[in-house]
């Protein structure tokens, strides 16, 4: 494909940053961003004081401290009772419409940082128990532990035994484990009190968690991992937990004075709305970041929109605060000093052809497209050059600079081979299959003689016409090789490609054309052997 000399274009961006959420990560991010010399506006939408850190009294001090600093900082303005209603414009030059106590306000901003919190949902129903004086959620207990009256209530005069049940109702995560262990240790410290932790799924996959676990045990907390979920009930006013102890290999009954139940952690109520307003992807639980390995730690699918702390995933308060440094770094990289250089192969709309059908706007995985003056407009700053829009446009009105329709057309013509020796034309995503192919070549793996490669920026760039035209021009077989789903740099490019190929296969079949000559496969860059197998298989199949 014709690679254009990398051309740099300069753009001006707004150096004001909007932070949504005034909890730990929001305020910490605001501070770090302001330190870089940017103006920061913090909205207390979503996460407020308690959501991220209620379980750790120490964190409340940290939060108060952050809040004081933010209030005193001349570049940070903190708005309470405010929410983001609408975001238009493009990365680097967004127009935000804010809803304030005093009415609405329009604001130009360059970047958005999401820092919403999460909600804790008690799981009483899961354990068939009703909340009461002796049946608490972990959140209830944490509140009691914050002062002497609460502690006295836990001790209940002469001392008490408290049983924590965790990891049976919810899948579990390091935060849940940390909460249980910290509370159990606090209980164990109370005079004449004894803590039992009955845990299903103990997640210790976060910094310092293993240590915390050992410390809790050394301190006298009894930790048991029962076989299967325990049964908790109140009989004649007496609590009873029965479970199978794997060490004793027998059923054990425990009669604690109080049962403390886990809470599951759900995303902030605001996430769903924000995700629509900001047009960003969320994971299946509703946290504002997908597990895409190509994303930077705090990145989202849209340029200039970052997800920090608990807006992105369940994180401990320490982790949430640590994100601030990453966020500030990314904001700096993105906004610079207000003038940024953009280069690379970007998509461009031919205004004369655009019928403003919105297909490109709806398909672009990076939210890089909007419409102005009745035509689709693509932001060169936000465009990642995947080419999905170009492949989907029903009027062929979008061209990706290094991969125009014409360039694709001639690349196909050049590679299809002859009538005696028709090629196997492999369209390879540059992020995965193309690398696998190069490696296969270097390793000296046996590849079909007739194999020809066409590199594309993303499998989502390959359009139906490219494939049909390969066949009409004489290719013997066509391979479309995409990244694994969930691993696609353009999020849905590989999915779109697989849908398209299935549709073309159906159409080929209806034409009476051998649909086996079109093959789709997912491949990672470290799969050269698979690349060789797939291509060899196809070669042997079409030679018969």
């Amino acid at each position: 494909m014709t690679q254009h000399a990398t051309q740099q274009t300069e753009f001006t961006v707004t150096t004001k940053v909007l932070v949504i959420g005034a909890g730990l990560s929001g305020l910490a991010s605001a501070e770090k961003i302001a330190e870089q010399g940017y103006q920061v506006l913090v909205l207390d939408q979503g996460a407020r004081d308690d959501a991220e850190c209620c379980y750790d009294p120490e964190m409340n001090t940290v939060l108060q401290d952050l809040r004081n600093k933010a209030q005193q900082h001349s570049s940070i303005s903190l708005k309470t009772g405010a929410r983001l209603k609408q975001l238009t414009g493009f990365s680097g030059n967004f127009q935000a419409s804010l809803e304030l106590d005093t009415g609405t306000e329009q604001l130009d901003i360059g970047a958005v940082v999401l820092a919403t919190g999460y909600r804790c949902l008690p799981l009483f129903e899961h354990y068939n128990l009703r909340p009461g004086k002796t049946v608490l959620s972990i959140g209830d207990l944490e509140k009691l532990l914050t002062d002497e009256t609460g502690k006295a209530q836990i001790k209940n005069g002469s001392g008490a035994s408290i049983a924590f049940l965790s990891g049976f109702g919810d899948e579990g995560n390091p935060v849940a484990t940390e909460r249980v262990l910290k509370s159990a240790m606090a209980v164990q410290e109370l005079e004449q009190c004894k803590a039992y932790v009955l845990a299903g799924n103990v997640k210790v996959g976060a910094d310092g968690m293993e240590r915390l676990f050992t410390r809790a045990r050394n301190q006298g907390v009894t930790c048991i991992k029962p076989e299967g979920p325990p049964e908790a009930a109140i009989r004649d006013g007496v609590l009873n937990i029965s479970f199978k102890d794997p060490t004793l290999r027998q059923d054990v009954n425990l009669a604690p004075d109080c049962i403390v139940l886990e809470e599951s952690i759900a995303p902030d109520m605001e996430n769903e709305r924000l995700r629509e307003v900001l047009r960003i992807d969320a994971d299946d639980q509703g946290f504002l970041q997908t597990g895409n390995v190509h994303r930077l730690p705090v990145g989202t699918n849209r340029e200039g929109i970052f997800a920090s702390g608990t807006s992105a995933a369940v994180k401990t308060p320490e982790q949430a605060i640590r994100d601030a440094a990453d966020v500030a770094l990314q904001v700096r990289e993105f906004l610079g000093n207000g003038t940024i250089q953009v280069s690379g192969s970007k998509a461009v709309v031919d205004e004369g052809r655009c019928v403003i059908c919105l297909t490109c706007y709806r398909c672009c995985p990076h939210g890089a497209i909007a419409w102005e003056a009745k035509k689709a407009v693509i932001s060169p700053i936000a465009c990642q050059g995947c080419g999905i829009c170009a492949a989907e446009c029903p009027m062929d009105a979008i061209q990706l600079l290094d991969y125009t329709d014409e360039a694709m057309h001639s690349a196909i013509q050049e590679q299809v081979g002859t009538a005696e020796q028709p090629s196997i034309l492999a369209f390879c995503c540059q992020n995965s299959a193309f690398e696998a192919a190069q490696t296969a070549h270097k390793m000296g793996l046996e590849l079909p003689d007739r194999l020809r490669l066409i590199e594309v920026p993303c499998a989502g760039k390959i359009d139906v016409e490219d494939i049909l035209r390969s066949f009409t021009s004489g290719a013997g077989a066509v391979l479309v090789l995409a990244c694994h789903e969930g691993n696609c740099q353009s999020e849905r490019g590989s999915t779109y490609a697989s849908w398209r190929i299935r549709e073309i296969q159906k159409r080929l079949k209806a034409l009476g054309f051998d649909d086996k000559r079109l093959v789709f496969a997912n491949l990672a860059s470290n799969m050269p052997r698979e690349f060789a197998t797939i291509t060899q298989d196809l070669a042997s199949r079409i030679s018969h």
């Binding site: 052809r353 019928v355 059908c357 919105l358 297909t359 709806r362 398909c363 989907e392 446009c393 029903p394 009027m395 062929d396 359009d463 139906v464 016409e465 049909l468 035209r469 066949f471 009409t472 159409r507 080929l508 209806a510 034409l511 009476g512 054309f513």
Partner: protein
């Protein structure tokens, strides 16, 4: 907007069988927006026909016009059309007919089925919302068309067959009149459901010619010419 769907390829092939040079004519408005007949689809169909063993030997080419329901845009084809022995239109039925009228010496075939007037839900996903009854009652029905979305097209409802949210014909078929009820109630104008809409005069479905107010004289002057 008009929604259309591509016809199955065997049907299209049966139309063009025996012709040697065929022009696939895309339409760059409604059918482009609903992904059935814009320039991309025109080119795809051209490639499919080229590829098919059944139509081997014939030549297929494509061209997309702004709109096929306006003579002025069709005239752009005047010279080129003569080179072909058949035209395959990807426009809605209206476009196909005007194309067939403009090039009446050349056989013109439809490549799409014109389905309905509808809305775009998302890429490639449309819902029928209007049947052009000619007497719009949306004012009384909270903006939900009973002709299209009530399985029986009732102008007054709901009927005795409602299962509240669904219609008696199928559990997956929502009861439009229930939706109308809900929305009217939410807007605090439920009393409007009691207003009886007279039966539509379906005789209006005969070929309709619409002349906008203020254009009557212009139209008759043109007709006299």
């Amino acid at each position: 907007m008009i929604i259309a769907e591509r016809k199955p390829i065997p049907e299209i092939q049966s139309f063009v069988a025996g012709y040697h040079k065929v022009l696939v004519v895309g339409c760059g408005t409604c059918v482009a927006v609903c992904l059935a007949g814009g320039s991309k689809e025109a080119e795809i169909l051209t490639n499919e026909l080229t590829l098919s063993p059944k139509t081997a030997g014939a030549r297929f080419e494509s061209r997309t016009l702004e709109r096929q329901c306006d003579m002025e845009f069709l005239s752009e084809l005047d010279e080129q059309a003569a080179e072909y022995d058949a035209l395959l239109s990807m426009a809605c039925g209206a476009g196909v007919q005007l194309l067939a009228e403009r090039f009446s010496r050349i056989p013109v075939f439809p490549a799409v089925n014109t389905s309905c007037i509808g809305v775009n839900r998302s890429v490639g996903w449309y819902e029928e919302n209007c049947r052009a009854c000619g007497t719009c009652v949306l004012a009384l029905t909270a903006g939900i068309c009973p002709v299209t979305r009530c399985a029986k097209g009732l102008f007054n409802g709901p009927c005795g067959g409602t299962n509240i949210t669904s219609c008696e014909i199928h559990p997956d078929q929502p009861c439009a009149w229930h939706m109308i009820y809900e929305r009217l109630a939410a807007q605090d104008r439920l009393q409007q459901i009691m207003e009886i809409s007279p039966a539509n005069d379906w005789r209006n479905q005969q070929p309709r010619t619409i002349v906008q107010p203020g254009y009557e004289e212009r139209t008759s002057a043109l007709k006299e010419q």
